[in-house]
Symmetry: C2
């Protein structure tokens, strides 16, 4: 399907489920972006789940969002259980506004939902010449170090910085060995998952995505990864007023209430302490790129380059939507 | 040696090398703390290297430190090549002052040196009821993903938060499989290092600490760890005005100039968005601790608990200083 039609289809679907045009467009832009960067697990495959949650009244299609300015740098957003993209879009917007004005923007969002790719928001700040951290929590997927039950989400650490080129530095590293969306998509399409990324509910290694989803995902770097996931839960859940410590509901299986996910955006000017940031970051990247490479590596890339490459390549292509997912979306528009 | 005497010996040594009493005391407190938490690689074993650098005129024993207030939240410290502890101590102090006043403290430090344990500074903020990030760069130890030459330091991600108890949450995770200090100490004492943490200069796995020091350390989580190290280099080196991208000098081998390490402290109030932080964090920790445990695990601990336990146990004990290290320190006081 070409991109214009795909976007129209998403907007039409969300409006069919009660969203206004502006909110539906924000959501459509995020889903199309995920497809273009090749993160299909965060793209159109997700649309049905958002609509299901609206239907079950655990996502609010007509949110009354409250924005509370706490200081010139600090803002709190109560997203009133909107689709996650909408609260996150407001969160990063206000963090950018505050950072432009005072040097730092610090914005917490509560009563939000799954917002897609963290890098999508962080790079919005980088494109405006700002450095950004972006944190979100997520439903249980990873067991804390020492526990045999999942509690933390895949809670990414996401950081973006301008590079003086069109392609910002965007590190978007989930704390799990692979992201949960990839496992969900594999389950949906009947594919396998790699070895060493998940255990089944009995604690045995598995390559069956369904068993992985009911079992537990392995964190990166054992206890360090578990600590990072806990840190992200404190930052995005505990301090924002959102759910935390395993209380974020699974978007696919748990319709007993809204997810109440939390996000935290920390944005700042790169030139607070120096006058020549662009020169310095260019020099930094240049020195890394010039290092001798290991066999088989042609170029050393900074985080975000690969993704930008995929985006550019896909920008003038059709979006390949698996028939199963497309049929699901069509059926959302029939009722 | 009892702690009082160990502290006196450190202070005497630093004063012998030109530091004033206040600066010598700041350094002694940091080194004794490292011993008490069991991080011997960051304790008295380091004293000789600081003194050597002073002697070679690449650490300034009488720094003219400049503190520039950029906004009520933002401060820049030029540490004038003081011993790292001194610039870091000022950095976290000003971050705490700014956060108490405005909600957020954002402090960059340049022209600094190796400051010991990141957690030592982050927990100072947590003990004052604040949440803190603490970043520092370090001499080359890790190869960027795809490169076969080291460039990034072990660049820890460090985060602390109050818990409503005497023991804060303190995550201090270096991006290498093990910290470089442990490898240095093993080299000094003729011990081996674990399998899987380092390669020799030809890219072969090694358990010989000397070969590891001239080779490369492995990052956690392959490309994700490499990305984290790069992020920390941008945060603490590029934006603060310090050295970065492999230009931080090795404190033990390179006397061609000061290290010019950079640090970044981001400190904020945990109650910016909520009224009941203490209740929420207690609930968070309680839920994690209540999870079923894997076989052999008695208690689930949050980051920082183990360290606090070691500190408490060592608080009334003598400090065990290996004879080789003690003799080195004595010889520093003979000349």
């Amino acid at each position: 399907m070409n991109q214009t039609n795909a976007k129209k289809l998403i907007i039409k679907t969300f409006k069919n489920y009660g969203l206004n045009n502006q909110h539906a467009t924000i959501c459509a832009n995020a889903l199309i972006n995920a497809e273009l960067v090749g993160a299909h697990s965060h793209g159109l495959a997700r649309l049905v789940s958002y609509c299901n949650r609206i239907k079950k009244k655990v996502i609010n299609p007509k949110p009354q969002i409250k924005i509370k300015k706490i200081s010139p740098s600090i803002t709190h957003v109560d997203a009133d259980n909107a689709v996650g993209f909408i609260g996150a879009d407001l969160g990063i917007k206000h963090a950018i506004i505050n950072a432009k004005k005072t040097g730092i923007g610090f914005v917490g969002v509560k009563n939000s939902g799954h917002f897609g790719l963290s890098g999508y928001y962080a790079e919005k700040a980088a494109h405006k010449g700002l450095i950004a951290f972006c944190f979100t929590n997520a439903p249980p997927a990873i067991a804390p170090h020492g526990a045999k039950k999942t509690l933390f989400g895949t809670n990414p650490i996401c950081f973006a910085a301008p590079t003086g080129t069109k392609i910002p530095f965007v590190l978007d590293a989930s704390i799990s060995m692979i992201n949960r969306g990839r496992i969900r998509r594999a389950a949906k399409l009947g594919e396998k998952i790699p070895v060493g990324v998940a255990l089944d509910k009995n604690g045995n290694p598995t390559i069956d995505p369904k068993k992985a989803l009911s079992g537990l995902q392995l964190p990166i770097a054992t206890f360090k990864g578990s600590g990072f996931a806990w840190m992200v839960d404190i930052l995005s859940g505990v301090i924002t007023g959102a759910n935390h410590s395993g209380k974020v509901r699974d978007p696919f299986d748990d319709f007993s209430g809204p997810q109440n996910i939390g996000h935290l955006f920390i944005v700042f000017k790169p030139g607070l302490f120096i006058k020549n940031y662009t020169k310095r970051i260019k020099e930094n990247i240049k020195r890394v790129k010039k290092l001798p490479k290991i066999k088989g590596v042609e170029k050393i890339l900074y985080p975000g380059e690969n993704k930008a490459e995929r985006y550019k390549k896909n920008l003038n292509k059709k979006i390949n939507i698996p028939t199963k997912i497309l049929n699901e979306i069509y059926s959302l528009n029939k009722s």
